[in-house]
Amino acid sequence: MKEGFRQAMAWLHTWAGLIFGWLLFAIFLTGTLSYFKDEISHWMQPEVQARPLDDARSLTVAQTYLQQVAPTAARWFITLPDSRDPGLSVMWQDKVDPGKRGNFIQKTLDPVTGQAVQARESMGGEFFYRFHFQLQMPHPWGRWLSTIAAMVMFIALITGIITHKKIFKDFFTFRPRKGQRSWLDGHNAVGVLVLPFHLMITYSSLVIFMSMVMPAPILASYGNDTRAFFSEVFPNTNNAPASGQPGTLLPLVPMYEQARAQWAGGHVGRVAVNNPGDVNASVNVLRAGSDSVVHDFGSTVSFNGSTGELLRVSGGQSLPAAIGGSFYGLHMGHFAGPVLRWLYFICGLAGTAMIGTGLVIWLGKRQLKHLKSNVMPFELRLVEVLNIASMSGLMIAIAAFFWANRLLPVTFAERSDWEVQTFFIAWGLSLLHAILRRGRQGWVEQLSVGALLFIAIPLLNALTTSHHLGVSLATGDWAMAGFDLTSLASGIFLGWAAWKMQHRTVPAPKVERTRGLTLKQEAN
């Protein structure tokens, strides 16, 4: 660390990247999958049928259902179906405890019949979305850990840019089949190619949880009354408390229409009703996130539920709130149509690949020294095992999750939990396998298993449901077909990777010769 600035930054890049690389790989891959959260859920719950969209009908159906099932609840949430998510989702909460995370009951309704859909129990794409920032840890530790990982990612990105002085020249150099050098070129290429995406996605993830990880300014300005901050930023969360007198809730559809008129035809994402059985019932109509890039949490029209009186229309956002909202909106990509959504997906894969190649390079450089002795020091072996388990093991775990969805009987108790269990059991087994097998065999075997599992997914789908590719392509069910085809493509990619790994010939002396040159350049 006594060398120049660039060397110091390279050192920081290397070590920060190594220690958080495995975790970041999982966060990036599951986050990338989350861009197709609704499509994955559709594949995992094929029973939820897509119906022609009709918000008024959906809203009436949801209100009727909730009035029968939960007339005395403290809050209702109705999420309307859209082109990506065909289910009409209703949620209610019996009691609101301020400062506590409530227990919601959620049901998916058929927007035409109003009956709860008898779909197989599954978290669907929600699992990857939740794992992406909660890491299957108790609240709030997962959020903290993932935000810390985001900060390390931010540091690794900036130090990577500093280290990489010839950023444009190197971008146009890709030297295939040069072993270590090719990995580095690839690492640089995916890093630089989608650099704006990397910077945006990393900084925005910090902004999303900023009030949790950086509460100091709130405490300094508002003292202990932190709720005052949130009600100043989101004024529409100030709803009248329940009076205790029973009241009748008016139909929601006219309020829905009034709200849309306020937004010049903008779309409604969700309707929230507070104290639906009370005289002081209030209705908040929230705008759909897909309407704009800049996310506005407060974009709400509020009504008195028993008189229908319009209470409040949220105003425009201030500049700082709009900047924060843009970070949030860009990270989530709710606004993205099919083309942009695929672009998000590809950028996410590039980010995942950047992290993966970085981990491979770290080990590759150090392994070269031990090629002759054939004995690897403990720490290198540890990194190798973690590399295998965190990358190919995660692929197997994801595939196993999808397999469990199709193979566990629909009536199986707690089947949704068992799908998640399968994911972690598969991941654990691949870790065990990586410990038992030598490096290269470990890679080849796990990549092959992953390839088989993914390639067989369209077949598995055809055998267990009536939504196979022939049907989904013919009826234009692009989410279902896209899932099968993407699985197939992923399987083929993993198979190719396994084949490359198996047939890799290491021209040891040649690598040794170029190493001196390239490493010296790279240390800069």
């Binding site: 660390m1 006594k2 600035f5 110091a8 930054m9 050192w11 920081l12 290397t14 900060m151 931010f154 540091i155 900036i158 130090t159 900084y203 910090l206 902004v207 900023m210 009030s211 950086m214 100091a216 300014p217 709130i218 300094a220 300005s221 508002y222 901050f229 100043e232 930023v233 201030s318 500049l319 700082p320 709130a321 900047i323 924060g324 970070f327 020294k369 720490e379 240390a523």
Partner: protein
């Protein structure tokens, strides 16, 4: 980079010290900087707080870069704690002004 086994204990302690300066000292500095922004920015209270929180991560980044770029661990601590003290003073004045 030299092989790890040949590194003396003093080097390792120095690295540990830098890591602590970066993680703990950096967070302290970033928090104090964001408090200053929240108290001194001439916008509404909520907007100033949002701006402070949003920009705090840049301060954190700069602190971390400094801790590993400077010549010694002592300088790392000095370079993080000096701006922290300055921000703390500013924040103290700001707090005092809002209370009065």
């Amino acid at each position: 980079m030299k092989s790890k086994t040949s590194l003396p204990v003093s080097y390792r302690l120095a690295v540990t010290s830098r890591v602590l300066a970066a993680v703990v000292g950096g967070y302290l500095m970033a928090s104090l900087a964001s408090i200053c922004l929240a108290l001194w920015l001439p916008t509404s209270r909520a907007d100033a707080v949002i701006t402070g929180m949003m920009s705090s991560f840049v301060f954190y980044l700069l602190a971390v870069l400094w801790c590993f770029a400077c010549r010694s661990a002592a300088r790392a601590w000095f370079g993080v704690l000096l701006p922290s003290a300055a921000f703390a003073t500013l924040a103290g004045v700001g707090l005092w002004m809002t209370r009065v």
